[in-house]
């Protein structure tokens, strides 16, 4: 009787673990030709990234690269920037993208908070801007924050083809600032 119950529970537990693992895993799969990336996929990708560094994700090859000073490898964007400044209990987040090819860019900017200057950052609030013109487009937002924490800005720029297919996602983070 006890063994029977165990035999039933083991497959169920296995399925549960598999489902949980699949949900928690970062986006690694290559998109089908012509498939459009969803904002949820981009969010899942960004959530799965380590807490420091800048990253680029090629949606066509499914390749994720850490951008270091010696190996920035962007295919579409020229520059992505993220910055933060603080005045009293108000922080001003700023981000920008520069692009000189005919693509649309989704620019997401998130204010993040942590008790440490280098890790454990959680999103506080976010803003979005659609960029449809060549050159540099920036935006900045002010936000009242609680004191005693470290804050930083995370900019996520996703380049879209004319058919709306995601081509490249670049994640850049500002240095952290204590308020």
């Amino acid at each position: 009787m006890k063994n029977k119950r165990l035999l039933t529970l083991v497959p169920l537990l296995l399925v549960f673990v598999l489902v949980l693992g699949a949900a928690a895993a970062p986006v690694k799969t290559q998109l089908q030709e012509g498939a459009e990336v969803t904002p949820e996929q981009v969010a899942a990708l960004v959530d799965g990234l380590p807490d420091d560094g800048s990253y680029v994700y090629d949606w066509t090859t499914g390749e994720l690269s850490l951008l270091t000073a010696k190996s920035p490898r962007l295919s579409y964007l020229t520059t992505v920037s993220a910055g933060i400044s603080a005045s009293g209990s108000t922080v001003k987040c700023s981000s920008s993208v520069s692009i000189y090819k005919d693509y649309d860019v989704d620019l997401d900017m998130e204010l993040q908070q942590s008790t440490s200057s280098s890790s454990g950052f959680d999103g506080v609030t976010s803003w979005y801007k659609s960029v449809t013109s060549t050159g540099t487009t920036s935006f900045s937002k002010s936000y009242s924050v609680s004191s005693g924490y470290y804050y930083r800005t995370e900019a996520v720029a996703t380049v879209l083809s004319s058919s709306g297919r995601a081509l490249e996602t670049v994640v850049e983070r500002s240095s952290s600032k204590k308020v």
Binding site: R73, T78, G83, T136, E172
Partner: protein, 254 residues
Amino acid sequence: MNDEKKLSESIEENQFRLALWSAAEREGRELLELEEQIEDNSSYQLTDKRRATLNCAIGRECRKHRVHKYMRQARNAMVAMLVLLLVLGGISMSVEAIRVPLLNFLRHTYDTYSSIVSDQRDEEPSTADYADLPIPTYLPEGMRIKTPPKSGDAIKSVYYQDQQGRYIDYIFFPDGNNLVLNTEGAREESVEIAGQKGTIIEGRDGLITIVWGTVPRYQINSDLPRDVLLQVAASVGIDDSAGPGSIINHEEGR
């Protein structure tokens, strides 16, 4: 003698009382007669219409009185609520956990509903803002501003273009933003611009990027030759009206 006086006073008093009673009796009788007359005389009776009007008037007065009473109560209740709200508001605003989201909500509401923002570069209102923006004082001949810096932006950028379609995109980061630059297949070289360390990146597609400074940080992206761009970069923030090339008029070309 005294007894006579007392007796005389008592008689006077009794006579006075008797007179009063007689008068009251007479008056009562008259009133009874008047009542009988009124009851008998139909002209003194209220008609149904008059009775209804009277009832109506009495009702109106009663209602008015009731309304006044309710209004007084409502006013008192409102004053009490206002006092309560002020007290609660004061307590809430002194608690950071409530104050911060509330202020952010108000700021968001103001940002969202107080202005019309278009993402189309060409449709944006031309609210050029050159305040605290060091700009290149040297630009090649024919370069005109296509997109001026916008007010309210922390990052300022000016997009210059000539008639051949060549461009200079100048970006100023007052907070020294962290940058990701595209250096794939590019040639990188360290340079010094106006005494500050910088990098020039010459891409495969002819795009040249120059970045210099830390806080603030400056950047130029352009398809012009590197020597020209280095000259433009070196002129940023310098008042060099006698320098080579044309001096840009920032009011033109908007």
